[in-house]
């Protein structure tokens, strides 16, 4: 390639390829491209590091030439350059191929001929320890119908494996998805690669977090997502297989192996499958995706890096305040009871609770603000033994809850996500605690679903 380029120039001087970095060591630039003009006496007359059109034209003028870098030729005015290879401490060691995070396509998957029982092979080689549907060529092709197999949807942290349509489809087959699930799974993978979700951290942490998928909009009915009774459990093929497909992708393409990079101390049963849909029909309020700016008649998926759901029972209270106070007490324990301001939570309100709360005139925002204002940790809890959250108390906000001085648990009402789901019987709701949140942790993301 270099020879071809040189032949296109009319260079009258010798051109060397510095493959052993010998010249780089002699002139020792901190970055490349670097320009070093050596005079007839052997001394460096001029050196320029990086790319700069003004500098290049000044050098050309000094040598009696016309300007060589035009202002509007499509190249930038200046670029700082990259660190010179000879300064890399271990340049002798082959480094990993650089990742092109913006490539539109990726490599086709290899094919594996398996002579043994394919179920046993798949359990051993791919996926979680439960049986999977073997991803045969025919099944994967059926899953990809209408899509370009090489299209690169994202790279899955922390190992940044290429999530092409084909690789996603192979994992979807294994999870038991129907082919039409690809229309939801592709946006889920896009959302999983969103830097705000910070999958790099979520996949490596010792915490419990796993991405929970929340499905909203008409796609719920079209694909059969369950949003009622047993919404967090094994109630529908759509919920179970979409959740499982994502978890298999995180492991098989992201490298989040539960006996390796995924360092979770106790884990999370959601790492088999973690997917719910909102019970929009039973909710008097706008659904989650509408809150996030999407039209009600469009579908969307949301990812939230959460712990397993923590149940809240309140079968006695007959007022919104009574029900929400019980939920606030559960919210106070998210992460650790004296840790404030650093975490979020998702509140999944059961239908009986929603009816009680709505009957008292609460809108969704009223619910959020009530929970925000009434979730706190009494100051007296900070006077005892040392523990997590105490050293940050100087940055906490003091509020009064039921006449008692408390530190406010959450940063803002928006730290509390609200979803309505579940069956018609039982006065239960659930709190799903977050991992570290905000720009330094994991942020909830919502993506449209065609």
């Amino acid at each position: 390639m270099t020879r071809q380029f040189v032949s296109q120039t009319s260079a009258a001087f010798r051109i060397d390829v510095d493959s052993d970095l010998r010249l780089s060591r002699v002139y020792d630039p901190i970055a490349v491209p670097a320009f070093v003009l050596v005079g007839p006496d052997g001394y460096v007359k001029r050196a320029q590091i990086g790319f700069d059109k003004d500098e290049l034209n000044a050098i050309a003028a000094e040598m009696g030439c016309l300007p060589i870098a035009e202002a509007h030729d499509g190249a930038p005015q200046r670029k700082p350059g990259c660190s010179s290879r000879h300064l890399e401490p271990f340049a002798a060691i082959p480094s990993a191929e650089p990742l092109n995070l913006y490539a539109p396509t990726g490599a086709r998957a290899s094919l594996i001929d398996v002579a043994e029982d394919p179920y046993e092979y798949c359990i051993r080689e791919f996926g979680d320890p439960l049986p999977v549907v073997p991803p045969t060529v025919e099944r994967v092709e059926r899953m990809m119908t209408g899509f370009n197999p090489s299209e690169l949807i994202g790279r899955i942290p922390p190992c940044y494996g290429e999530a092409t349509v084909e690789k996603i489809a192979a994992n979807a087959v294994m999870a038991g998805c129907e082919p039409r699930m690809m229309q939801v799974l592709l946006p889920v993978v896009r959302a999983a690669c969103d830097e705000r979700l910070n999958l790099h951290g979520v996949q490596g942490t010792t915490h419990f977090a796993a991405p929970l998928i929340i499905v909203n909009g008409p796609v719920r009915g079209r694909l059969g997502f369950a949003c009622g009774q047993n919404v967090f459990s094994n109630v529908s093929r759509a919920n179970s297989t979409l959740g499982r497909a994502l978890q298999l992708i995180l492991r098989n393409l992201g490298g989040g192996a539960p006996d390796g990079i995924d360092m979770s101390t106790l884990g999370n049963p959601g790492k088999f499958s973690y997917c719910i849909a909102e019970n929009e029909e039973a909710s008097p309020w706008e659904p989650l995706h509408v809150e996030m700016g999407f039209p009600a008649d469009e579908s969307a998926i949301t990812l939230f890096a959460g712990e397993a759901p923590h149940g809240v029972s309140e079968h006695v209270a007959r007022s919104a305040k009574g029900v929400l106070t019980a939920i606030a007490r559960a919210l106070a324990t998210v992460w650790s009871y004296r840790a404030c301001m650093g975490h979020d939570a998702l509140v999944v309100l059961g239908l009986e609770h929603v009816r009680t709360i709505h009957r008292d005139g609460f809108r969704k925002q009223d619910v959020r603000e009530f929970l925000f204002k009434n979730t706190g940790i009494p100051l007296r809890a900070f006077d005892g033994v040392d523990g997590e959250g105490i050293s940050q108390r100087h940055s906490y906000r003091e509020i009064t809850i039921d006449g008692e001085r408390c530190y406010q648990k959450f940063r803002s009402p928006e730290s509390i996500g609200i979803v309505v789901a579940g069956g018609g019987a039982g006065k239960f709701s659930a709190v799903v605690g977050s991992w570290a949140t905000g720009p330094r942790g994991s942020q909830r993301v919502t993506y449209p679903c065609p």
Binding site: S83, A109, F126, G127, G201, A436, R440
Partner: protein, 92 residues
């Protein structure tokens, strides 16, 4: 009879290898990278003292990641390229 499966796993293999081990710490510059977990400074303060007092390390460079939840930013990695070895300190 065999069956053909589409490989569902990551296929690009990372080529990076372990850096060569140092034969001695004497006269070396060692960086201690605090990943911003609670207690990391306590652990690394002690390591720094041991390196200087017992291992004849010439210079200890202390750096801190902005957050333990994300990879180190490029600028920080750049600073670590000029030392002989890095000790990354977890804590909690």
């Amino acid at each position: 009879m065999s069956i053909t499966l589409v490989n569902p796993c990551i296929e690009q293999k990372p080529q990076a290898s372990r850096a060569p081990r140092l034969e001695s710490l004497a006269g070396k510059t060692i960086a201690l990278l605090d990943i911003s977990k609670p207690g990391g400074n306590v652990f690394l303060d002690r390591v720094e003292r041991l390196l200087l007092e017992r291992c004849s390390v010439t210079h200890v460079v202390r750096e801190t990641k902005p957050t333990y939840t994300k990879p180190a930013p490029e600028g920080l990695l750049e600073k670590l390229r000029n030392v002989d070895a890095v000790v990354e300190g977890l804590a909690d």
